[in-house]
Symmetry: C2
């Protein structure tokens, strides 16, 4: 008996599985097989498959926050927005399963809520230089998230026919957005 499995290892295994296979196909049987224990033993570390899904969602939210913060430091204005958008999209493309968990899992975990709130705070800070009115700020925040989320999810689901020039399309889209809020300001 290879005693010594940890909850973290289980979530790690689940993350790998959902990123390589799919979030929908995640099962305890897969996780048990990868971690070398039997399915019921998993219940020593998680309360069920929903617990695993929520843990993935929380991890995803925290990782996105980290990636976004990393992209934002030392940058301001349009450069900051572009860097954040690019980093956000990159995370989604490289972690499609975990990101899917982030949006498809109802998650009351305070850590999840906190990471999301922090993300919103960072984005708000990045938009601060534009001195938008309260409603316009909300509009801009929603627009930015919609843009990046929409593009990335269509991208990982194969929604765009040919994969050519996806980078260029994304950059242009974000630039259009940046131009738009600039004009709103003026």
């Amino acid at each position: 008996m290879a005693r010594g499995i940890t909850r973290t290892q289980i979530i790690d295994s689940a993350a790998t599985l959902v990123n390589t296979d799919s979030f929908a196909a995640l099962s305890l049987a897969q996780i048990a097989s990868q971690t070398g224990i039997k399915v019921p033993s998993l219940y020593n570390y998680v309360t069920g498959i929903d617990d695993v899904r929520q843990a993935l969602a929380t991890r995803g939210a925290q990782e996105i926050l980290a990636v976004v913060v990393q992209a934002a430091v030392g940058r301001a204005g349009t450069a900051a927005i572009m860097a954040v958008a690019v980093a956000y999209r990159a995370y989604i493309v490289h972690n499609p399963g975990v990101y899917t968990a982030t949006i498809q899992t109802a998650n009351p975990d305070p850590a999840f809520q906190h990471a999301n709130a922090e993300l919103l705070r960072v984005l708000t800070q990045i938009l601060a230089p534009y001195q938008l009115s309260e409603p316009d700020l909300i509009h801009a925040l929603r627009g930015l998230r919609s843009l990046v989320h929409g593009f990335a999810t269509l991208e990982i689901s194969g929604g765009f026919g040919m994969p050519v020039d996806l980078d260029a399309s994304f950059v242009q889209m974000v630039q259009t957005f940046i131009g738009g809020i600039s004009y709103t300001t003026a």
Copy 2:
């Protein structure tokens, strides 16, 4: 035995179920219960649950196409883009389950492919007046789809905190986009 169930009724039932409950929770047991027959009898009309999912996806694509075409007729330029975006979002918000099927189901059905191709053609026509270069046209198409898809999916998954002023946010976002492609042209 209430003989006379049809495949259409089964898909209708499934559509109602996914829109009121959720796409993920769809099961043959639910459909059988709603249509008044036993689960195995469903196999006289569908090849399995994946067949139902694909049928939902195809229906969604066709309905979206119809809604978009309806919004586009008699309009041109910015008015056409706005009308199409609003109609698209409205469809998603009112048919969240069917729309989810549209994006989460791998669907080789030619009718599905055709509806998507037609939608792309309509959107291309709407952008024609802007006389974009070939790559810019592709960028704009991707941007428009990302925008609407992203906003609507975040909306139906409760991604935006408060539901206040969602209409205003959406309109402003689309206007920003329209302004952006106009400037690209000039």
